[in-house]
Amino acid sequence: MSQSNESAQGPSRRRLLKAGLAGTLAGGLVTGRALAAGDPAITDIQDWNRYSGPGVDAQPYGTPSPYEKTVIRRNVPWLTADPVSSVNFTPLHALDGIITPNGLCFERHHAGVAEIDPAAHRLMINGLVETPLVFTMADLARFPRTNRIYFLECAANSGMEWRGAQLNGCQFTHGMVHCVMYTGVPLRAVLAEAGLKPGATWLLAEGADAAAMTRSIPLEKALDDCMIAFAMNGEALRPEQGYPIRLVVPGWEGNMWVKWLRRLELGDQPWQQREETSKYTDLLASGKARRFTWAMEVKSVITSPSPQAPVRHGRGRLVISGLAWTGNGRIAQVDVTIDGGRNWTAARIDGPSLPHALHRFYLEHDWDGSALFLQSRAIDEKGYVQPTKDALRAARGSNSIYHNNGIQTWYVGTDGVVENVEIS
């Protein structure tokens, strides 16, 4: 895609300002001269048109074109103490459609990637069950399977933006989300095999990594739509996404989707683990903190134009594109404004509209070259409307860290450079 070439220069605004504009200008001149005799992309014989290329098996596992080499996950080194307990971000600005390629799904680990030999991996069910059980990966493959497309969003996505515009790029402001098709087995089928005892109301899911990640999940959700997944987008889970198995908890915060899943325990109360007390609780201005804020709220962001995907083509037709999602099911509508929320236009949702999946929207716009304040606002099927950041701060203060679903503003300058701003 064209945007990705543009982001080759990295996400720096200063660099974009210097190099980007010079590039546009020079490009215009070259094009002007070249057109007299014809575009050399057409009139010259290109190497790839003359010489044969690499044969099959040159890359037994295919990789993207070298021209897409800047479309990669990136991290923000100062956010965390150590890359082993850290996060990187999905390059949303360079992607389209609703499916995230496996190699670009953001990563969040608490003790690095567990490199698990599936032959030595087990899933145990214990606690308030009639028979505690152990499954091998081969056992799990014999349950009836199901395929579902779901988004996964980290509760801390956009968490750095609570105090004001901070990171310049939707990869960094919104890139802790991805959406893939999972193949796996319904959690309830696996639990039914062990038989739940009276009193069982909570489930503890535990990972096999060196953080032994744990979360308590109410049984009602576990039996409703949770899955144990072993594949994403048709191939085995990537190690960084929990190979060989992970929990899928549709619409709920990513931390609960325990990777490298090795144990499910049934109990009659929550375990109050570190990830549901010290972390993933939302501190309010009052000093009280909300806990068990599981569902992800209605949210959207314009992915292009955005700081890493500036407008290079000047005035005229401009495709405004973005993503919307909600933990409440489907997105009903996305509105886009170009004047900072004075007037809104309904965008076009294109592609499948699936519950708990990303939705892709477009607004085709004739840009007159003036500065724009772009925002998108999603409304979900339950009627929840994405709030402004000011409304969120009025209700919660600025210390929540998690669950920031506020409306994002991109300022598009007359030069096509895009910045993350907050406006009044």
Binding site: V134, A189, A194, T277, R290, R291
Partner: protein, 362 residues
Amino acid sequence: MLKFLEATAIAAVAAAALCGGAVAQDAGAGKRTFAKCAACHAVGPGARHRVGPELNDLIGRTAGSIEGYRYSPAMTKAGQGGLVWTAETLQSYLADPKAVVPGTKMTFAGLKKADELANIVAYLGTFATTAAAPPSAAEATPPLAAPAAAATPGAATPGAGHVLRLGRQATPEEIAAWDIDIRPDGLGLPKGKGTVAQGGEIYEAKCAACHGGFGESVGRWPVLAGGQDTLQNDRPEKTIGSYWPFLSTVYDYVRRAMPFGDARSLSDDDVYALTAYLLYLNDIVTDENFVLSDENFTAVKMPNAANFIDDDRAQEAHYHTGAAPCMTACRPGTATIKTHAAVLDVTPEEGGDDRQPAAGIQ
């Protein structure tokens, strides 16, 4: 008995009438739908109570009436009030349990599809021990009991659920090896003890390099102590002492995940001692000779425990405007910029001299 049979027959007719011609009952399909119930309910010979009561001989039985199962007061009352399980009452209950029996402890969202409802009722109807199943279902399914009945008893029998007979029984040793979680009520605490002073020594050797000698942290590693009375500040400091609601979380987490990079290397007594020391660093205990053990563990209360509330986001004003979102002339004037990310300029770039903002990710 006769009455029961009658009820069954009537129920079958009622179900057929209710569903009209459009939804045929299919006990076979109902068996598949039962997968949604099987985690909580058993049926067939030898069925026992699970989270919910066993469901044999269900059609015609009074709600909340099976002995040896503890129903919610709501369900018992509903039965006393005359609620009997017929095809019709079952279908409405299963479509929306909380609407039909407000206060029922069956935490099940409900079956949404008419055919699923009809099929599950037909399927449950096949578990009448008294007589032949309703005619419509009789030939559709052989009694489901087959797997359970056929399964050989004994240690090798997989899954009490016997649904697919996959997996094998976990041994007590295996469970002990993995089940190391601790709950606030003390469930899971191993026998053992340790003092503040012992904890101090271990901490100095194994934790201070990252978390600092006083839990104040070195560099960007997590802060473990201090921060009391900062939760309403502009930059709150959330630590074990200022924020954590339960002591069990400290024991559980240190045992499963610390020291970072060498998890599961501490003995149970080490973890008691370290937990005691972390209480000391947070001024929750002040005596260096304090001994923390499985016996006094649950008596320790954390200062911030009362300040956690349940999720009430849906009540926030911005979700309750009631009006359709504004589309034109929604705000006066023209937009002006309040803050720029580019001004803060903390976006990473290769080789850049990134300035670091005060708050990172947690």
